[in-house]
Symmetry: C2
Subunit: 275 residues, 2 copies
Amino acid sequence: MSPFDDGVAVTPSGEGRYRAEVDPRWNIGSAPNGGYLLAVAVRALRETLPHPDPVSVSGHFPGRVAAGPIDVEAVRVRSGGHHSTGTASLIQDGERRVLVTATFGDLGDADGPTIIQAERPEIPGPDACVRAIGSVAPMFLQQFDMRLTPESAGFAVGHRSGRGLMEGWVRFEDGREPDTLSLVLFAMFHLMEQPRWVPTIELTVHARGRPVPGWLQCRFQTRYVIGGYLEEDGEIWDETGALVALSRQLAKVRAEATPPPRGRLSERQEASTGR
Amino acid sequence: MSPFDDGVAVTPSGEGRYRAEVDPRWNIGSAPNGGYLLAVAVRALRETLPHPDPVSVSGHFPGRVAAGPIDVEAVRVRSGGHHSTGTASLIQDGERRVLVTATFGDLGDADGPTIIQAERPEIPGPDACVRAIGSVAPMFLQQFDMRLTPESAGFAVGHRSGRGLMEGWVRFEDGREPDTLSLVLFAMFHLMEQPRWVPTIELTVHARGRPVPGWLQCRFQTRYVIGGYLEEDGEIWDETGALVALSRQLAKVRAEATPPPRGRLSERQEASTGR
């Protein structure tokens, strides 16, 4: 099994309960990547809901998750012909640390108009981009073959480009092809080289199409940093040029450069640390 | 009390339970506006969480809500120094029809950097714009003084502008000043003149600042309609030019021109009708 599928695997452990293992390979520093945690929740909801594609997944991250065993409580709220909706909580030490609501549909069966009023940005191909290695999260980055445009690559070596924009290409290092489950992870890959600790408060991903095998073209942009709060908007296209996901997260720049080690802060102070 | 504050009022009815009255003044056709329903949930969470501002609110709309009494189940999940997080369900006929997760903070106390890398669009002032009257939702529109740019006003009389962009100004008709609670409603005002039935699947609003009294400048844009699914991205600024909210919803164009009357469809077919 690929590291990703292994990392999001869930085992039934009771009525609407699943057990998963948070794999530290998907850590950024000492905390799991938020997109990875969202993908674990989506994986459990796939067992619970009849539709295959997470057309909208919203996650809030009130508590810090640690690598190791985690319980997932998945609840099917409603199931209809077009869509089904459920909630999932990621629970550690008896605390709900990630709260997810998702609506699933079937993107292979989406009827209705298609009207595109945006241009996919033209960027150099993967071979003309810079492979991201990274010092902040080397183990995490090893899971991917990530290529950044020369303009974006400043981020990858820990510098701020100053323009709040990161573009490039990504695929799994082991050749595992993208699908709507893994889009939830890819929608989050941009923050990992932030030189500051910027925990995610909330992340919402819309899967808008099923990607074909191959590279994903990505564009992540932050336009507004206000009082330390920032949004990051992501767009992902597959190799045919089709948009396959939109994402947005709200994060907060913290005064601390890195997450404090677990146990150093009281539970109350630790709240709202998304990753 | 203003119609808005009256419409989102909640009364405690038990441990973590509130009672509200869904006011048909906020209906679009036969279904309540999704932003209004989200504001009811936020109003209940304000009773439950210690922080004042909904910095991120995510709502999924698996069931259709009808005007009349509704139960709100609000749960405080975690409360910390910077943020607190809770969930709220809007319940009618024993069914959870709107699922909300929200993280609250204190925008009056937001420390951290401010870096703006976007231009607020320059549009004509309110007096040079066109007052929206509208035929689809006249009662809803009467609650607002809404002014659309001449380019956007085609939407307001039921035509498609073809550019997926709507800009203008809005405030409450009765002079009730905007705050971070009402931003959750204003973040949703754009869809109401859609000539097709486009139920919301999910809506997320980020309150990014407390608006000063006066007009709100709004910009709503749809870039990708794919297989009938569309996102609508909203930006709201106050009269000082400060960004005060970002919003995004996922909606689905339905084959039917208007929502079917309640009771005509089986519960299963009716699922996923956000409003």
